[in-house]
């Protein structure tokens, strides 16, 4: 569809843009930056905060630039006297209903409201403090999410996130007028509602109203306790985003520096969740083959297909709440973080001769849902809580700063052994489509004895940021053991962001889609866009992180999970075989339905 072009002037400079462009975007084209709060690239336009006001010649009122389309001949001023006065008023008003104790705030230094207050030099503003003592109660019922209404500026970004991106709507705008606020159903504590702990709302909250539950102090405590052996695991997506919070350019890979930093911080062993990502592929791949066999050969009707991946705890809680009747379709594999925890306190402890009682397992995750996951009753198969503390990428950046480490100057270091080796297949777990690609690389080869038929192992159809992706791959000339798969065209789908997952779930439920294998990641973009990743987030930021992930994969010698030497070793020494007895005890689990309403 060809679009009309519109000519206008912004601050007296002519610009031509497509019809339908907002004033905000037109101004960006001329490099005029207009402050925003309720606007977010990932979300629908709300136009409620009113900090993005601009003056349009001839209009009675100021216009919200994020919500106003351009028109022919328009003359816009982004910094007139009226605009400045009003914008300042708006910020002052927001501060007057805001509990601005910045020095105590988790978002101090990363807060859009604080930035505006400082840009407009709002010191002692004139208005009356409206924060009510009863608003200062902070909801810390959830192990993942902290909700502090006294910091909320009602931009509704969280509400739109939870509804539009995640199809959960655990949060809603409630009441009206001076009582209006963001609330759960009947104001219940966060841990009692349908929240998946995905943390996407946190990523988009401009202030400290929604933050992760922080466990930094607990981790320092463990590190300082000489009686404890503290191991740390780092998830695939952390290494392509951590740098953003430490002054490095977007899309920089910092794997080696991160490992150094973790040693400096004082962890006893720096290991890699990528190791268990590779392990997941072997377990999950074999589970898929077993399910296919049961369906195709044994005609076993109790076996559910498609099989859904299970490495995203936000997705797990979503399916428990929203599609519990499809829980049998979920792979029984634990997430890589939890596989790691269970093995750390068994296999690793034995090899190192450490009493697991004295071990502390810390995870660095791009994720807030993993904080919840680590506390699940299902996740104690080592006899202890398998993972003790989960920190987000953001929290790790804070710890590195606290430790006084000059990150950019660090040398690159390698992971410790036993559970520190990985392949490119594990690295791409951090991106949407990555688990699928890793699984196909392995499963195809196991079944046919040949590498996947894609140039350079890059399975392009499953990559990219489209909400729902589909691919098919034909199995031909299979090995004798897999004769039942001869001529089968394996059909797969990938969804990221729970609203996309919902589409697939409904299609599967209603029999409108027949897939064999479906990858679901709760967060837009997959873990690289996780709820624990550096803020801000945007399609462009996620794209850059994905590019970094795929280039890390390409740069590695081993790019197939079944080639990870430590994985081969653990099967030899400990697990014996995929889906074996030990695996069953430590690496697999089942989930139960939760209330949807």
């Amino acid at each position: 569809m060809s679009k009309y072009l519109v000519n206008l002037k912004i601050n007296n400079i002519p610009v031509t843009v497509e019809e339908g462009t907002t004033i905000l975007d037109a101004a960006k084209k001329l490099n005029f930056s207009i402050p925003t709060l309720c606007y977010h690239e990932d979300l629908s336009v709300a136009g409620n905060c009113r900090v993005c006001l601009v003056e349009v010649s001839g209009a009675r009122n100021l216009a919200a630039s994020c919500a106003t389309p351009v028109s022919e001949g328009m003359e816009v001023f982004t910094n007139s006297k009226n605009v400045r006065t009003s914008r300042k008023h708006v910020v002052e008003l927001l501060l007057s209903e805001h509990n601005a104790d910045c020095t105590k705030c988790f978002k101090n230094g990363h807060c859009e409201l604080q930035d505006l207050a400082s840009a407009y030099r709002i010191g002692d503003h004139v208005f009356i403090d409206l924060v009510k003592p009863k608003d200062k109660v902070i909801d810390i019922s959830s192990p993942s999410i902290c909700k502090d209404d006294s910091k909320c500026i009602r931009c509704q970004r969280c509400v739109r996130t939870c509804a539009e991106l995640q199809a959960v709507s655990a949060l809603a705008v409630c009441h009206k007028g001076d009582h209006q606020r963001i609330s759960t159903f009947l104001g219940k504590p966060m841990h009692e509602v349908v929240c998946t702990n995905c943390g996407q709302c946190i990523n988009r909250c401009p202030t400290g109203a929604l933050t992760e539950r922080s466990y930094i102090e607990e981790v320092w405590e463990a590190i300082n306790d000489l009686g404890k052996h503290v191991v740390v695991q780092t998830a695939p997506a952390v290494r392509v985003a951590l740098g953003e919070d430490l002054g490095m350019e977007l899309g920089t890979r910092v794997t080696g520096k991160m490992v150094s930093a973790l040693r400096h911080v004082g962890f006893d062993s720096v290991l890699d969740t990528d190791f268990t990502a590779d392990l997941t592929i072997l377990e999950e791949g074999n589970e898929l083959l077993r399910r296919l066999k049961k369906v195709l050969v044994d005609k076993d009707e109790t076996v559910a297909l498609p099989m859904f991946t299970s490495c995203s705890p936000g997705w797990i809680k979503y399916i428990e709440h929203m599609f519990s009747e499809q829980l049998p379709n979920l792979s029984t594999c634990k997430s890589p973080q939890q596989m790691f925890g269970a093995l750390a306190k068994t296999y690793y402890a034995q090899r190192k001769n450490i009493n697991p009682k004295n071990m502390v397992v810390v995870s660095i995750m791009p994720c807030t849902a993993k904080k919840f996951e680590s506390g699940r009753p299902e996740m104690r198969d080592s006899g202890y809580q398998d993972v003790d503390y989960v920190l987000t990428t953001r929290e790790l950046a804070m710890m590195i700063k606290q430790a006084g480490i000059d990150f950019s100057k660090l040398d690159e270091d390698g992971y410790d052994t036993i559970m520190g080796d990985s392949t490119g297949a594990a690295v791409i777990f951090g991106s949407t489509g990555g688990v699928m690609e890793a699984a196909l690389r392995t499963v195809y080869e196991v079944v046919t004895g040949r590498e996947v038929p894609f140039t350079n192992l890059n399975i392009v159809p499953v990559r990219g940021m489209e909400g729902v992706k589909e691919a098919r791959i034909m199995l031909k000339d299979v090995k004798p053991d897999f004769s039942y798969l001869e001529g089968v065209e394996v059909s797969v789908a990938i969804a990221h962001g729970l609203s996309n997952a919902k589409k697939i779930m409904e299609a599967v439920r209603d029999g409108k889609a027949t897939y064999h294998f479906v990858e679901v990641m709760a967060c837009p973009g997959g873990c690289l866009g996780g709820g624990g990743q550096p803020i801000p987030t945007s399609p462009d930021i996620r794209k850059k992180r994905a590019e970094a992930i795929y280039s890390e994969d390409e740069g590695l010698i081993r790019r197939k999970s079944h080639e990870n030497p430590e994985v081969l070793q653990i099967y030899k020494e400990f697990l014996i075989e995929p889906l074996g007895h030990k695996s069953h005890d430590l690496l697999h689990t089942h989930y139960k339905p939760r209330k949807r309403y």
Binding site: S169, A170, V173, C174, K176, F185
Partner: protein, 155 residues
Amino acid sequence: MSSTALLIKDLVEKHGKNRNSLMPILQGIVQEERYLSEDAMINVAKELDLSTADVYGTASFYTFLDTVPRGKNIIRICKTISCHMKGKDEIIETVENMLKVKVGETSHDRNFTLLTANCLGWCHQGPVMLINDDIYPDLNPGKATSILEEYMKAH
């Protein structure tokens, strides 16, 4: 099935299973039950495939869609300027004394909830109150008393 669930089924049947019917459905529940209980909101969410927070968020926007328990009769006395000028304070006081409740409270026998309201559209005949859907203009303390007595008798 609880009576609330049955009521909601009926309302959904009558108004249709879509978001546009949310208001009439919630209004229908309030008509029968005077307020929206947790159970009621959960049932509505189920029927219309909405989240409970969304139903609550929508309901709580509207003054007449109460989400806290209310008495059998809801009294709303206009507190806006014209009625203020014509003596709404006296009316409120009279009713408070009669029912032994303060504004915002429900009587012990759950028969009455006393609330105030913004302009009810009878400013030329203030002070005025609504009891449920019925309007009582041109009030004075005596008149308010005898109206309430009628309601108490009916109980």
